[in-house]
Symmetry: C2
Subunit: 323 residues, 2 copies
């Protein structure tokens, strides 16, 4: 295996295999992953992070694809992290889509990585953001998080971007209803994709009405709604312009640093909680939990009692270690 | 305010106001809530818990409504906990629906409570299950969790039921795709609601195909797919029969206790993690976090360093308290 120092050197040279390998360390919870992330931290912060989220079938991948093509024409380097069960990156969609996306993945200035939702959902957003740090440290200009806006974890990832757009289609009505709370609040702007489809104007009006109920004041950036047909590259440049103007707004109002700080706060909180959880659920305490549950005499014991026993055991161990 | 001992007495007498008040204690994170839950724990376990989940607009509330009517005809007492932004209970749907559901809420043998998704998402499943314990301790025969299958938290709640059904409609195609991982795995059986609509047979076939890929062996209960038109009360009795036959299967195969133990395990884990999280994020450490983030010189410090500092501070406090 490549040494970590060598991996770091290769990463800084934008070697795609090194980027890929570093992200694998993170995904596999390799014992060296954390120290690696810590080390490259000083090189991060340069990449502008874009979140693209929305219900399944809204065309997020197609839009990501088109935006990326525009960005590389401007000689920018683009990293894409796809966390989406229906994304062609992660294998949920039809073969045609997958090939289309694979196409940009082979371009020298594009790095694509898909991360799975299955398994350790709790840690997914931490891992996706760590992965973004790797791409950031490698000197990429843009990082796009493509996530489907259904789970909390996916929303968390999209939320950590500098600019977050929510992609909808005219048919999204019902889904929007359900995801309203989450999706509406994280959008810096909306993209109504496939806007040539019937019901487009009605969806637009309905979205505008919903937005009117969103809290906002003069300082807030009022989310625009852009129409677009990503598959035909119609309206994509306008999406790009909106990203730039949101970026400008952030800088002019000094919200940029505020937003990054806030994201850092959320991230630290998640790391703390993940680490505590790993700490407390060692083999010993998992055994303790299983014992307590198997104990027939304890059927009517409240789970709160057992939880207290486990926390006490954890605290006792901290004391013993420190002695 | 009513004394807790009196509240308990009234609860055991199935006084609806007492049930409601006890659940409010839980929702408000009242300091007495936990000790109350602990005390009534010995009276729980008698109610059969049914989870009803699925995408928004699938007609979960209508089905809940109809099932409840059938159950009370059998002289059963039914408690309903609705965690669903699109549910008429929680105020997401059209007025007509809300009135229709309100109707069963006034019946003496039905208790309905809606719990909000907004705010402390993390603790929602703990609170919903605590609320179920309250209704259980009051001697209700059935508890129905109605949750929309979009968030992790809502899935967690549905998962803790003894029998969980996933309600779909012919149009659910795209949503199913996205939620596949979560929804498919928790279903003991499926209900294809509004099955008179076009596309019903296609949806059925597509669902069957998906199920074929689900892992199963001889011991596993193969999930059936039932057609139903809840609004016309067509097929509802079959849903009820399927609940009974799943219940029988659980008892015959001794999976019932296994499943309850497993649910208890998940619940204890969540309580432990919630408590630790409350423990660590006291005012002092929130201040510490904010200081670290505001420190300009620390912009390039990895969040992992800050997280470690915070955990160290937490452990130090445990030592100081124990001294």
């Amino acid at each position: 295996m490549m040494k970590l120092s060598e991996l770091k050197d290769q990463l800084y040279k934008q070697n795609k295999r090194a980027i890929s390998r570093a992200i694998s360390l993170i995904e596999d919870s390799d014992p060296h992953a954390i120290s690696f992330i810590k080390e490259i931290s000083k090189k991060t912060g340069g990449a502008y992070r874009i979140g693209i989220t929305g219900p399944p079938g809204a065309g997020k991948s197609t839009l990501t694809n088109q935006l990326t093509k525009h960005l590389i024409k401007q000689n920018k380097k683009v990293g894409i992290i796809a966390v989406d069960p229906t994304s062609p990156f992660t294998g949920g969609a039809v073969l045609g889509d997958r090939i289309r996306m694979g196409e940009i993945g082979t371009l020298p200035d594009v790095f694509i990585r898909s991360m799975a939702t299955r398994g350790s959902l709790g840690g997914l957003s931490t891992k996706a953001i760590d992965a973004a740090d790797v791409i950031d440290a490698a000197g990429y200009d843009y990082i796009i998080f493509e996530t489907v806006g259904v789970g909390q974890s996916e929303l968390d990832i999209a939320k950590t971007a500098d600019t977050t757009m929510v992609v909808l289609v005219p048919e999204s009505g019902d889904s929007i209803q359900a995801m309203k709370a989450g999706l509406m609040e994280i959008a810096d702007f909306f993209v109504l994709n496939k806007s040539d489809r019937p019901g487009s104007d009605k969806a637009l009006t309905s979205l505008q009405t919903t937005l009117m109920f969103r809290e906002h004041d003069e300082k807030t950036y009022l989310p625009k709604i852009l129409k677009c047909i990503a598959s035909e590259n119609t309206g994509v440049e306008e999406v790009l312009n909106e990203i730039s103007s949101h970026k400008k707004h952030l800088n002019d109002s000094d919200s940029f640093n505020q937003r990054r700080k806030n994201n850092k706060r959320i991230r630290i909180k998640e790391i703390v909680e993940t680490n505590l959880s790993i700490d407390i659920w060692n083999d010993k305490r998992i055994n303790l939990l299983n014992e307590k549950i198997s104990d027939v005499s304890s059927t009517s014991v409240s789970p709160y009692f057992t939880a207290e026993t486990i926390i006490e055991d954890y605290k006792k161990d901290i004391l013993d270690i420190k002695k």
